[in-house]
Amino acid sequence: MNQKLLHRQFDNGLVLLGEHMPWLRSSAFSFLLPAGTCYEPEGHDGLAGMTSEMVQRGCGQLDSRQFLEELDYHGIERSSAITTTHSSFSCAMPTEVLGHALKLYSDLIRRPHLPAGQLEDARALGMQDLRALDDEPSHRCFSELKRFRYSQPFGRISQGSEEGLAAIDIGDVQEFFGVNYKPTGSILAVAGNFCWDEVCELLDRELGDWGGEPARLLPPLRSTYGSLHVDHASNQTHLALAYDSASYESPEYYEARALVGVLSDGMSSRLFSEVREKRGLVYSVFANCFSLAGKGSVLCYAGTTTNRAEETLHVLIETVQSLGQGVSLDELNRLKNRIKSSLVFEQESSAARSSQIASDWFYLSRVPDRDEVCAKVDALSCESLLDHFQCNLPKNFSLVTVGSQPLELPSGIVDAQE
């Protein structure tokens, strides 16, 4: 399991990364393009998603159906996603067809047909996604939290808005594609059992003469604190709670991530133990780290029947604050074991590894290998975690509830602001 990051910086700005996993039969790639929701023009929420949908409707010599048939014929599994910062395309496949898949996706990002006649179909699909989100309260509370907590354009969600989707015309799609599907800021990460020289050679031919740099003018990120309720006729109240934390780029990210691990990694974690195991308040409760525009947050979720929502929020907050009483050596060791073994599990999947490599490069402009991550994890101590918590007390809380009754943040919490 020797790990070596392969790296190539193209003159046009594209970053190509690779990692050999010769024990696999597969290869996978993750292609991040700097075309996320934060680059959508005002009033066009959902344009990144619609553009992503439209570029997949035929490219190069292939129309929409031929493109999908080509992927299916070669057994190429694919997905696409929209985040605040990127549009991404990911594929996993038997390794012998990697070259073909890279050619197809080179066409997709450079020579899509963007057929005007299919714009209404793409819009209808977008509207379906929005309505489905409205029906799914446990997902909706996070969408509403993003909109509530983060200023524009960072608070936009991938599904956009009804008004935004309705306003988009084919010219908007062409322009968004023309401005944002550019090599500068794009990251292509390949992992699996492949030949690096062949991939470099192929991409030299396919993407070497790709050019352009998107204009990037973003306002600073501002956050909104306090609480918001969304009325929804449901059995459960769904709570999404956020507070400030270290971002992925921060030198103290490992401490912050470890504290969230103490809260939420595994069945012995504090939230699972206190909220679910001891009190039976929920079926689902968790916390994770989220980074946006250099700012980090911890996002927590709990879903509970309405008459127990207040107690659940109280226990949730109390459990977060219990980190101030320190982390036991046993807790820390369990966490270290979990992180280290997850790094080995990652080596069994080319798709998981290519996605992690691309993400690391975006946040850090480098990719820590397993030894480096293990060394950082080993260096964590009960003292360093407590010290980090005390120097970075949870503050700037935002709470969104989706359900039939609103909840407010307790006064000590609502006041915990910078």
């Binding site: 070669h74 509207m127 459960q236 069994e348």
Partner: protein
């Protein structure tokens, strides 16, 4: 890779798929008990028991179980289905002994009353959670309609009433009857120390109750058809779940049935995809097989805007009728076969995925076919095979549950 099986006179069966090159090792206890084995007054007991298994034994408290799993860095979980309950953990190979000791120990839980009452609240929250999520119990209701009074109609989670009324004594009795040596087996996949595993499990299970499990009664289900509506105040989309008769899990035509579903209703590149998804008419349109020991069904799921529902359902009917009338093309078969082949190859890379493939095969037929043999089964399917199974499933009447907003 090497397949090893071991069964002593009074121990549970152990099946090992050893891959010395694997980085990890996965273990799973597969128990042949699920919702179909429950009496109506304890509907949901298999699933509730699955939760309670983690709540402690004579040697460990519930907290110990959770702590140990995390200490091992295990990726672990459990699930309950109509006919089975499965507990599994994936760990690094050096953690084998502790992981197997833990997983085996928890198969004989103490089932303390206090834990039972607390966990009951978690189960009730789980039922409430799924009831809030689309399609709002439509699959469960469709099963009830389709299977009528047969045990396969039992909801895996039970109902709020059946769970609230359940007693720990009923659960203990269910456990005593169903978690017996002859009703469960251990699967191991990945980099396994086989002799250590066999020696340990033989010894650890020596004291397990020795009585025989009463076999599951095999009452041939009768299928019922018809249509029902569920009204939901908060629904924005229209949801429809449809059930047709299918084939059992050992039926020779199961490969043809999977290819049929891929051609007709895969999430990408299928006939329904081009008609309903690519055009933006629907959010989801899928049909897939569910195969059980003694019968099977096809499940269909449609989600779209309420105002488009009627038209979309007509399109779905037209696509199915056209398929039955005109058949499928060689090109479609090739695309579906390649898609399934690739997906199986990718999945087979992980020992944890092989655990489930092997466990399911062992459940179904006490044998296991390596991936290349499975792929050859798909390669042998012809257009006639696909149309033959289409005739015997989709030509039938069906049970339909629709979920609609306030009228």
């Amino acid at each position: 890779m090497e397949l090893l099986t071991h069964k002593s006179e009074d121990g549970p069966e152990i099946v090992i798929l050893h891959d010395p090159a694997a980085f990890t090792a996965s273990f799973g206890w597969f128990v042949a008990t699920g919702a179909r084995d429950e009496l109506s007054e304890v509907a949901g007991v298999s699933h509730f028991l699955e939760h309670m298994v983690f709540k402690g034994t004579a040697r460990r408290s519930g907290e110990d179980v959770n702590r140990e799993l995390d200490h091992l860095g295990a990726q672990s979980n459990a699930f309950t289905a109509e006919d089975s309950t499965v507990f599994y953990a994936s760990v690094l190979p050096e953690c084998q002994a502790q992981a197997v000791d833990l997983l085996t120990d928890i198969m004989q839980p103490l089932l303390r009353e206090e834990d039972f009452e607390t966990e009951k609240q978690v189960i009730l929250e789980e039922i409430a959670m799924y009831d809030d999520q689309p399609p709002y119990g439509a699959f469960e209701r469709a099963s009830e309609l389709f299977f009528g009074d047969h045990a396969l109609a039992t909801r895996v989670l039970g109902t709020t009433e059946s769970v609230a009324d359940m007693t720990v004594a009923q659960m203990r009795e269910y456990h005593r009857q169903r978690y017996t040596k002859d009703n469960m087996f251990l699967i191991a996949s990945g980099n396994i120390n086989a002799s250590q595993l066999i020696d340990y499990v033989e010894e650890a299970c020596r004291e397990w109750p020795k009585h025989k499990t009463i076999s599951r009664p095999h009452v041939k289900p009768k299928f019922y058809f018809g249509e029902e509506l569920i009204e939901r105040e908060s629904t924005h989309q229209h949801y429809a779940v449809q059930v047709w008769p299918g084939v059992d899990c050992n039926h020779p035509e199961r490969y043809a049935l999977r290819l049929l579903c891929s051609i007709l209703a895969d999430d990408s590149g299928s006939r329904l995809f081009w008609e309903l998804i690519d055009t933006g008419r629907a959010e989801t349109a899928a049909i897939w097989p569910q195969m059980l020991e003694d019968c099977g069904c096809l499940l269909g799921y449609l989600c779209c805007a309420p105002e488009d529902a009627e038209e979309n359902e007509a399109i779905q009917r037209r696509v199915i009728e056209q398929t039955l009338r005109e058949g499928v093309t060689e090109k479609e078969i090739q695309l579906a076969r390649n898609k399934i082949t690739s997906s199986l190859i990718l999945s087979d890379e992980r020992p944890s995925n092989r655990l489930f493939a092997l466990g399911q095969a062992w459940f179904n037929r006490r044998s296991y076919e390596p991936l290349d043999v499975v792929l050859s089964r798909y390669a042998a399917v012809t257009a006639d095979d696909i149309m033959s199974i289409a005739e015997r499933t989709l030509r039938s009447d069906s049970a339909i549950i629709k979920v609609v907003g306030p009228s």
